[in-house]
Structures are given as structure tokens and as C-alpha cells.
């Protein structure tokens, strides 16, 4: 069982939910069956993230490029999305979750917008956790849109070309309103970013899980977070010096020999682990 250290949690976690189609194919079922099971995994992971106390969870639900999939699969995904939003409405509102959506939302069918927009508005003031659904989303598209916005401001004389800084660009990215992602997980075994959160990824830790998304459970999320917690994030700076191997001293040193000291060393080595 994987336990998670409660005091060093990533604040913003992004997930590339990959593997629904393969999950279904492995079972000789239509791809839609995999997406249906994937929706269950979303429920599980949102709940686990909330109980863990993450501040933001961004799920890559549908990419700008996914529109190229067969029409019936796209339609089924949209119906599933609508069902998900309807069935999770209570849990989202009752537990202080703010629901947000990023991407080219104008392309979504009205059957989705009709439930998505009111839920976004209703949950606007919640602040326990922000759940962001990336729908019809592309990282390059988001960067281009932000650049376009700044270009318009320059054209209108509101800012100087010199004012186009990384920070200002960042402030125009809806995906980073909850802060840069600290940890991005991709399920399904592939090691790609596939146009997810490109700008914010600069210093994110990446975790690749081989398990297909429909099989991804709370324990897999904990494992990803635990792997994040043991890594040292340096943000381009120099890290702590690596421990230097001491020459072997044949005489038992008193520090090592003391049972109390070794017990203390053993107890202080692992992190305090709390599962909530």
C-alpha cells in the first residue's frame, strides 16, 4: 500500500488520461466501452485528489486534435461528458470544488455547454479544489492565443513590445490560472506530452504510468505523488551536494554503535506519512 506524505503535496496535478481505446480493444469491446470505464476512473481520481487535499487537478479530457476521430466516437464522448457533469454535479457543489474548463469551448456541442456553463458559474466561488477539464484543448493553440492577445495590446498601444515577458504571456494562459503544474501524469504507457499544458510544463515533474486509464485507481495516483515527493525540484538551480561515500572505518564508531542513535537515524530517515 502506498502512503502519501501530507505536507509536501504537489499543488497542481495534470493528467493525460490515455488508454481507454486500448483497454476496450484488449477486451474485444468497442472503444466507447473504454471511454465509459474511463469516466469511472475520472470519478475515482477526482475524489481521491480532493480527499488528499490537492488544490488543482487538470484533466486532459479531449484534445483539439481529437475532433479528427470517427464521428460516432466523438459523439459518444460528448454524451459521456454530459453524463459525467450531470452525475457529479452534487459532489462538485457539495464539496467545494470549482469546476473550470479550458480549450476551444466554442467547438463543444450545445448538449455539453448546456450543463457545463451553469455548473462553472455555480461553482465559481468554491475554493477547496479547482477541477479543470481540458476540452478541445491544445497547448500550442493556447500559447498562440495568448501571443495573439498580447499582439493586439501592442497594436492598440496599451503595452510596449518590451512588455511581452514570460510572466505576461503566462498571465494570459487559462490553464495556468491555478499555477504551473507541479506534476503531470500520463497513463497508458506512452512517453509523450501530446500538446498538453506546454507552457506550464517548464518545471513540472513528469510521471509515466503503464496502467491504462480505466484501470488507474487511487493507489496509482498516490504512487505518482509519492514519486514526485522523493524528487528534488531545483528550478534550474544547483542542488544539494550528493552524499559523499565515507571511507570504511573498521572500528565501530560510537555514533553508529549506539542503539538509540541508530534508532533515531532510522526513524528520521523516512518521511512522516499520513493518509487522509
Amino acid at each position: 500500500m502506498v502512503l502519501v506524505e501530507a505536507r509536501n503535496l504537489p499543488s497542481h496535478v495534470g493528467i493525460i488520461m490515455d488508454g481507454n481505446g486500448r483497454w476496450a480493444q484488449l477486451r474485444g469491446q468497442p472503444r466507447v466501452a473504454g471511454h465509459k470505464e474511463g469516466a469511472q476512473a475520472v470519478r475515482r481520481i477526482v475524489r481521491a485528489a480532493r480527499r488528499l487535499g490537492l488544490k488543482a487537478l487538470t484533466l486532459y479530457a479531449f484534445s483539439e486534435q481529437n475532433w479528427a476521430r470517427p464521428e460516432e466516437e466523438v459523439d459518444a464522448l460528448m454524451v459521456l461528458l454530459r453524463e459525467f457533469l450531470l452525475s457529479e454535479r452534487d459532489e462538485i457543489l457539495d464539496n467545494g470544488i470549482r469546476l473550470n474548463a479550458i480549450g476551444n469551448l466554442g467547438r463543444l456541442p450545445s448538449l455539453v455547454r448546456a450543463v457545463l456553463d451553469p455548473l462553472r458559474a455555480e461553482s465559481e466561488d468554491s475554493d477547496r479544489m479547482t477541477l479543470t477539464l481540458a476540452l478541445s484543448y491544445g497547448g500550442r493553440e493556447e500559447i498562440a492565443a495568448a501571443a495573439r492577445e498580447l499582439a493586439e495590446e501592442v497594436r492598440d498601444g496599451r503595452i510596449d513590445p518590451d512588455d511581452v515577458t514570460t510572466e505576461r504571456l503566462r498571465s494570459r494562459m487559462p490553464s495556468l490560472a491555478v499555477g504551473d503544474p507541479d506534476l503531470v501524469i500520463r497513463t497508458g504507457g506512452e512517453r509523450r506530452i501530446s500538446n498538453f499544458l506546454l507552457y506550464g510544463l517548464a518545471y513540472a515533474e513528469l510521471h509515466f504510468a503503464d496502467v491504462l486509464w480505466p484501470d488507474f485507481g487511487a493507489a496509482d495516483l498516490y504512487e505518482a505523488i509519492a514519486s514526485y515527493q522523493v524528487r528534488e525540484r531545483r528550478f534550474g538551480h544547483v542542488g544539494k551536494p550528493a552524499p559523499v561515500a565515507l571511507p570504511h572505518v573498521p572500528v565501530a564508531s560510537p555514533v553508529v554503535a549506539s542503539p538509540i542513535a541508530s534508532a533515531l537515524a532510522a526513524s528520521s530517515a523516512p518521511i512522516t506519512r499520513i493518509a487522509i
Binding site: A6, R7, R47, R50, R51, L52, G53, S87, E88, R89, D90, E91, I92, L93, D94, N95, R128, I274, I276
Partner: protein, 273 residues
């Protein structure tokens, strides 16, 4: 066990209360149930301290105040590990110190010190978890609460009837002279029936493979909780812990099994589901 005339009063009370609880659960706002649970937990806590600290109104008040603070802290901060750890450190450690200021008889001071450390947690924590279950489980929340109550109360009812008509062998005479082994088995059957109702009727999202074992574990702990409360009552020389629920005794008599089933079901949703 209650006499037959008492049974009629019990049923009448249930007929009035149960629809109100269901209405609040299924039609009320998610936090509405906590508004019912909170005062009930406080009265139950007060009944407990009336047994452990007889005649000492000040200590009873302090115990209830600690329970109120920790219930509210848990309600708002259950997902913040710092809050949970702080509550679990502060209450059991500082509670016993209250006895230093309210010493009384030195013979019972040790018992009262530990009661002040544990008592605020004993009822307030599981009752708050029950109210959290309503919020936590989204659209299924009300049904999870109903299932938890069925594990406890149908267990009680099954135990009552099985014990009354089949009961021969005493279960634990030193603690609860009227309970029988047959009653305990009937109680478990009542809890399992609750699980079947949940799966086939109002909570289809729980599978039988989960619901039935859960009902047996929760039902068994619920009955142990019932015995545990009897133990405290016997040890402190009280018959019913209160008279607030007509025919049912005090709040504590009604929720003793529910405390344990709530904790079991909440931990199930936390670790397994």
C-alpha cells in the same frame, strides 16, 4: 430489552422520526444533515459525561465544548491533514489535564482523566463522519447514510426479535444480561438485509461483493459498540443514558451501534471504494 408497551412507543417514535430524517437527507441541502447530527452528537456526548463525571457540571460542560470544537474542526478540515493531526494530538493529550483543575475524589480521578481525553472523540468523531458521508459521496451520499443506519438499526431490530423468540444462550451476561447468542446472529442477519436492500433498491452502485461483507463487519462492530456502551452504563450504574427519544432512552442508547457502523462505512469509502 424493552417491554412490549415500550415497543409500541418505540415504533411510534420511529414512524415520526424516520420520514423526517429521510426528507432531510434526500431533499435537504448536503450540509442540512449535519445540522441534525451536530446537536444529537452533543447531547450524546453530554449523556456520556453525565455517566463518567456524575454531578460535575463544569467538567461535563468542558467535555461537550471540546467535542463541539473538534466536530466543527473535522467537518471543515477533514481533508487537511494538519487539522486532523492537530485534533488527534490536542484532544487526548489536553483533555486529561482538565482533571487537574477538577480533581474531586482521587480514587476516580484517573478514570475521569482518561474519560475527558477520549470522551469528546467517542461520539463526535463517528457522528461527524456520518454527516461527512452525506457530503462526500455526492449523489450517493444520502443512500450511504441510510445504509449505515440500516446496518446499525436493522441490526438492533433483528437482534431484538431473534433474541426474543429464539434467544437461549447468554451472549455476555456480565455486561448485558438480556443479550443472547441467537440475538447476535439475528442482528447480523438484520444488517445483511440492510446490505441487500442497498444493492437491490436504493444504492445500486455498491456491488453485493462489497455490500454483504461490509454489512457483516459493520454489524459485528455495531453490536460490539452496543455492548461497549452497556459496559460503561453498568460500570457507572446508569440504566438508560437519557430520556430524550421516547421509548428509545437517550441519544447514546440509540447511536451506540451507529457510532461503529459509521466509522466502518466511512473508512470503507476512504480505503476500499
Amino acid at each position: 430489552m424493552a417491554a412490549p408497551s415500550n415497543l409500541a412507543l418505540r415504533l411510534a417514535t420511529a414512524v415520526v422520526c424516520v420520514p423526517l430524517i429521510l426528507l432531510l437527507l434526500y431533499r435537504g441541502p448536503a450540509w442540512g444533515f449535519y445540522l441534525l447530527v451536530f446537536p444529537a452528537a452533543m447531547i450524546g456526548t453530554w449523556e456520556l459525561f453525565a455517566m463518567t463525571h456524575p454531578g460535575d457540571r463544569v467538567s461535563q460542560g468542558i467535555g461537550v465544548a471540546i467535542a463541539a470544537a473538534l466536530s466543527i474542526a473535522l467537518w471543515f478540515g477533514v481533508h487537511d491533514a494538519r487539522t486532523v493531526v492537530t485534533v488527534l494530538v490536542v484532544v487526548p493529550l489536553l483533555g486529561p489535564l482538565v482533571t487537574l483543575a477538577r480533581l474531586g475524589s482521587i480514587e476516580s480521578a484517573g478514570f475521569r482523566a482518561f474519560a475527558m481525553g477520549m470522551g469528546p472523540l467517542f461520539i463526535a468523531v463517528p457522528m461527524t463522519l456520518l454527516a461527512l458521508l452525506r457530503v462526500e459521496m455526492g449523489a450517493d451520499g444520502p443512500s450511504y447514510v441510510v445504509m449505515t443506519m440500516m446496518f446499525a438499526w436493522w441490526g438492533d431490530t433483528g437482534g431484538y426479535f431473534a433474541g426474543r423468540y429464539l434467544g437461549k444462550k447468554k451472549l455476555y451476561e456480565a455486561v448485558s444480561p438480556k443479550k443472547t447468542v441467537e440475538g447476535a446472529v439475528g442482528g447480523l442477519a438484520g444488517s445483511v438485509l440492510g446490505a441487500l436492500c442497498a444493492h437491490f433498491w436504493y444504492l445500486p452502485s455498491i456491488s453485493l461483493a462489497h455490500a454483504v461483507p461490509l454489512s457483516i463487519v459493520a454489524g459485528a462492530f455495531g453490536q460490539a459498540g452496543d455492548l461497549g456502551e452497556s459496559l460503561i452504563k453498568r460500570s457507572t450504574g446508569v440504566k438508560d443514558s437519557g430520556q430524550i427519544v421516547p421509548g428509545h432512552g437517550g441519544i447514546l442508547d440509540r447511536v451506540d451501534a451507529l457510532l461503529l457502523t459509521s466509522a466502518v462505512v466511512f473508512l470503507y469509502t476512504l480505503w476500499i471504494r
